[in-house]
Amino acid sequence: MSRSPGRKQENHKISRELFVLTYGALVAQLCKEYEKDEDVNACLDRMGYSVGIRLIDDFLARSAVRKCRSYSETADMIAQVAFKMYLGVTPSVSCNSVTGNEFSLILDKNPLVDFVEELPAERASLCYCNLLCGVIRGALEMVHLAAEVSFLQDRLKGDAVTEIGITFLRKPEDRRHRR
């Protein structure tokens, strides 16, 4: 996690292990506090949301990207620029619907679960990385794109791949006089 060279700051690399352990501790603590998997998932999503609404401006300020002109461009931007910048991985993107508003990000590698093999039996419905869904949802909302983001498949649950589904909810309206 270092800053791009354009920034007049020292490169502060933080250990990935510390980040992964911190995330794991967070999930473990939530599991202690909530009995139901749905509650833990919802809490992770909310936390992710409050990260996403702030992270988006960091992303825009650092990457200086142009406005995306379509949902497809947006999905590509998330996978190829944002995931690369923050997690060092590049999921592949596929479009799931003819209407052009449902996309999937297939994560080949996911640093958050490097040290997690599978979920315990009593936590079968836990979406371990649900924080990521909240982050994406919050970030999109701040650029005036309402979306539903969730894990469609999860290797931790025994599925073949880990797949995040993004469904854009409205046609991009004229954004000239927002905020």
Binding site: I53, R54, D58, L60, A61
Partner: protein, 168 residues
């Protein structure tokens, strides 16, 4: 004095070097009384514009926010942005709107260059020292020490880089 008549909109800012707050000096003297007593002459009076209060700034910013939106609607070009620059004899107002809808505005000398880079730098400073401060609530006035410090630094750098030295 240097001018025969104070300029429109100017008020008394200081008398004999001591700052004035409304009608009274710092040590509680009534300004008009003091000025009315010939025993106190000669007296040096500093006139100038009052600094805007936070509320006044908020009011002016929201007015500009509306003008910005009207600007983009009035434009005959489709997909036009809002007002990016407003130029007058004495200053230029530069406005940068992020994709998240936040507007950064800089008032500068009309001859000052490098404002675009400054605006983007301020965006970075905002995303670092305001947004990454967990105790800062979105949409509220920014009262973060680090933000102020870094902003001041960025302004100093921009001033030096312009065609005129500091103080322009």
């Amino acid at each position: 004095g240097r001018r025969a008549v104070p300029a429109v909109g100017h008020a008394v800012l200081a008398i004999n070097g001591a700052e004035v707050n409304g009608r009274f000096t710092a040590d509680g003297k009534d300004v008009l009384e003091f000025l009315g007593n010939p025993a106190n002459y000669p007296v040096s009076i500093r006139f100038g514009r009052h600094r805007l209060s936070s509320n006044e700034k908020l009011m002016l910013a929201s007015m500009f926010h509306s003008l910005f939106a009207i600007g983009s609607q009035l434009s005959p070009e489709v997909g036009s942005s809002g007002i990016e620059m407003l130029e007058t004899d004495t200053f230029k107002l530069h406005c940068f709107q992020t994709l998240t809808g936040i507007k950064f505005m800089v008032l500068a000398d009309p001859r000052q260059t490098g404002i675009d880079a400054l605006l983007r730098k301020i965006y970075e400073i905002y995303s670092d020292f305001a947004l990454k401060n967990p105790f800062y609530s979105l949409e509220m006035p920014i009262r973060c020490e680090l933000f102020d410090q870094n902003l001041k630094l960025a302004l100093e750098v921009a001033e030096k880089a312009g065609p005129f030295g500091p103080g322009s």
